[in-house]
Amino acid sequence: MKLRVNGQEFDREPAPGQCLRTYLRDLGWFAVRKGCDAGDCGACTVWFDGRPVHSCLVPAFRAENREVTTLEGLAPDGQLHPMQESFLQAQAFQCGFCTSGMIMTCASLGEEDKQDLPFRLKGNLCRCTGYRAIEDAVRGRAVVDEDVAGRACGSNIGSTFATGLVRGREHYTMDCAIDNLLHVKVVRSPHAHAKVLRIRQDAAKALPGVRLIVTWEDVPRKPFTTATHDEYHCNPDDTYLLDNVVRFRGQRVVAVYADSEAIAEEACRLIEIDYEVLPAVFDPEEAMQPGAPQLFPEGAAARIDDPARNIFKHTESEIGDVARGFEEADEVYEGEYFTQRVQHVHLETHGSIAWKSDDGRIHVRTDTQTPHLIQEKLAYLFSLDPKSLHVFSERVGGGFGAKQEMLTEDLCVLGVLKTGRPTKWEWTRGEEFIAGPGRHPYQMRVKLGARRDGTLTAIELRAVSNTGAYRNHGGEVLAAALRSPVETYRCPNKKGAGYAVHTNAIPAGAFRGFGRTQTTFAIESAIDELAEKLGIDPIEMRRINMLREDRAPGAEGSTKIYGADQCVDFVEQALNSGRGEPKPAGDMWREGRGIAIHFHESSPPSQHRSQADLFLGPNGTFHLANGLAEFGNGSMNAIRQIAAQVLGVRAADVETVVADTDRTPYDAGTFACAGTSVSGKAVELAARALKDRLIAAAARRLGCPVADGKLIDGHVVFAGQSIGFAELYRQTPQADQEFHVTRLAVATPNSPAFLVQGFRVAVNTDTCEIRILQSVHAVDAGTVLNPMQLAGQIEGGIAHGIGTTLFERVVIDEEGEVLNATLRNYRIPAFADIPRSEIYYADTRDPAGPMGAKAMGEAPIIPISAALGNAVKDAIGVRLSSLPFSADRVYEALYDSELDWPGLNKRWTAELDQAEQLTELQRDNVRHADEAPSEDVPNEALEKS
């Protein structure tokens, strides 16, 4: 088959059922990406004879004699199409995985099309940005600042990989061509709880191209946990590579390695497995009841707190005397809240490729948030010397916590060890839903008491989390859930009880917000309810009770650490400003507003270490290596900005390497806001040490006092004298050692960051639609290292929060089957769903953080659900206590409420209830069209046409 791609002729036969996307990728056009593989996300958008199409849905054979344009060919070599330039200037991406499709779509739009971006961009999903930056790009707004020496921090410095990305030259995990690849596919359990009795693999083995089939009998019986964490004991080992007991529907049972994905899939279908089906339990409260099915009956060996009741982690603590606190209260509120299972939906699915090099080392190319921890875990699992393993990422397409797990690397390394062949496993989008981690569902009971003046006298929280069949992060998520949302308020009497409970649900895992989002939803909703009982304005209620400056942890010292007061003021003023959309016309629309706050304890709950390696090269530029992961979080850019600021150079003068166990020192990975707060701190320490050495060396050479030395634009400058870095390097003995430093940072100490989200909403009491009229977010983030990136992180968090509040929900039936394992049926926010937010920064500085910055990676999602719930309550007087608030679920809440609804269709049904029954005569007026006689059909006309 002949066709032209990007102006070049190709001649290659497609496979019969091949789609255009994989055909193009086989030709080496890797910018055509797979996000959903089903036409929903648009990451694979290309031009087909000049028209944009989703290439995953186009049969490859139809490309015969056609002209295809991919992002790589959008502009002639070395040039940029205006839309590529716009995306560069607006930095309209974070992880960048959606960027190819986004640019190919936007570049196809005419001026008239650009008037309706909600419609034109509905087929391009971005999970990172919240779409504001993408709109900026389409509108031609430039956001990026010039990279000026000495002004790296505080400037909108563009990403390190921006140019390559918009040209389609950056490579994600699967964007490489490796010969002789083996492909992994797995047989997954159709039962939520079962014992594997017998596996028949003869038919599969006989299939040509099948090279290896692995079951639980063929792998080391060595327990591990898929969760990755610096502190080994956080997540006790509970998993085997392959097991003869399955504890959730979708658990992998057999791995097949074959010459192609098609053969591996066919082999999986030929494998027959006999199971002894065991009783299953899906609700955590039921799982704690006596007689419930036990997931880990082996008892203490499973290292769970109460095996008989399936309780992995039980934690309880009380300060003061809660019972007395409630006695002292004038008003008490108690309520139950529920959060649903949601999925991360990082656009790049999990996947990795492993191979052995001639020197016998194994290389693992993967999309992970924790490359060094993956290296350690693989070394343990396969009893290998960690030095024999090289784990690295190029670009990573999103994570949000889902890639703080080892889910694919193990079976790839196993394939390499058993066959010697390079091995690849790329998850489908469906696998993300049925076997990937999601957010822990929480069932919560919160009780608050306060005096008439609003002062809280007692806070009590009971939280039950469904950690699913395995415990991936369940204990730490529970700890975080019980900590900062409760610590947000001053109160002498507090009590918390938490249970992380095993069920036969799909394991949950680390998820942006890490448990705090769930309990903040409960507590911040309850604060509003209590304020209402007391007749106190909800914003005032928070001012009365929130952590004050003198009580904020780490508040010692003279600098302004505390910014909560500023943030609350910003949001209140903005909500009162009249900005945003007006309430839509019509009596059915009710307007309301609400806020929620959160003091964010940003550090990873346990020990977290990061090392930075920094040296000056002979040509006067710096080389920075740190093991953090960059998956859209912007940390890679932030650390080079920190180094550049300290060293007085442009950000571009700091060549930066991350996420590679061969090329970077140890780092515990990027999660829990550690990118800036811990890796950034290590880099700052290293840069300051190197700065001191540069000044000292220059002072020696020039005979100047060290105290006078400054680093300015690539020179060490003294009064009247200066020396360039390259020259200083040349003149300094053993400069390669003298100007090479390594520093370590750990997670503590740090100061809490603070966030406030405010919404004005309108609720349609006829349809139950919730419409956001205004969104305001204020953060106390300390020094803002890169305003553009921080805004992106906040906007992305808000968007993620809006999606998980208003409609996202993994639906699982009573057998444990996921009913909406596609992006078509699990909707994430599209452009049209996300309003533009006003964003405000408190003027603060954190003495503990790098350059005065606080950590702000995952926090902005945390207050979103509660703020929306509070605004809806204000609008319609009904407290929505169960996420999500999709219109159909709002309808159920209103339907069940005892309030009298002027809206809904009671307006006309009430009228009808009084109406007479239909008379026979009236019935004759009504004819069901299905009964239409067939002679109605104009056959004659049809025949002629």
Partner: protein, 275 residues
Amino acid sequence: MDLHTITTVRRPRCPEEVETWADGHAWLAGGTWLFSEPQVHTDTLIDLEGFGWQPLQVTPEGLKIAATCRVVQLDQFQAPPEWSAAPLIPICCRSFLASYKIWNEATVGGNLAMSLPAGPMIALTAALEGTCTLWSRDGAKRHVPVAQFVTGDNQNILQPGELLRSVFLPQAALEKTFAFRRFTLTHQGRSEALLIGTRDPGDGEILLTVTAATLRPYQFRFAAGVTSAQVRGALDAAIADDMYLDDTHGSPRHRKHLTYLFAEQIRAELSGEHS
């Protein structure tokens, strides 16, 4: 996605070339649904593209839409000015969950043949009193109203190998006035309820078409002057509670609520009342 089980693609120039039909065969129109899910029971794709059917034909009797007419072609159709219901065409095209980029490949016939409750081409052609022309492999033809072509969620009357050739919209329907109501849980998402009413300019008869909320389309003819109670009574009598769709795009109770709400709004609008 790659359909790994496909072993054969046939690209005939006319339907007569397809003499045999077997389990595992599938007609391929735009391919936008076929390639969006694994099709492990399909091994042969038979491409309709080579038939070269004229996408749209205006005749004195109405509009003939070939099954292979791409949604983008229908969307861009310039209707005669007297076809007062023609604005429903672009409105319904905008009622897809799918992006307009997918319309570049997706076909009208494909949407009908998929027979999903939210299929907006079903809503459009049912409301405009369309008739499907079906060709079976033995050469027999039959004509069926769109509202009877779809029988359930992803179910229709097509026999194995039978081909949906075209949909014909009669001129009388195209010259009616109309009212349109739609709701989606996410902005521009999949229709949770999509109702269309048309009104005969002559006798004032209202034809109400209920789609998306229900497993299959329902249609009601009301004489001029129909009351709220009559509309409600007709809905009550025709649509059982278990015929409202239950999936992630809407709950059955909310879909029923929207159906009644929109039906009344459409009745009032077409009757010239202020709702």
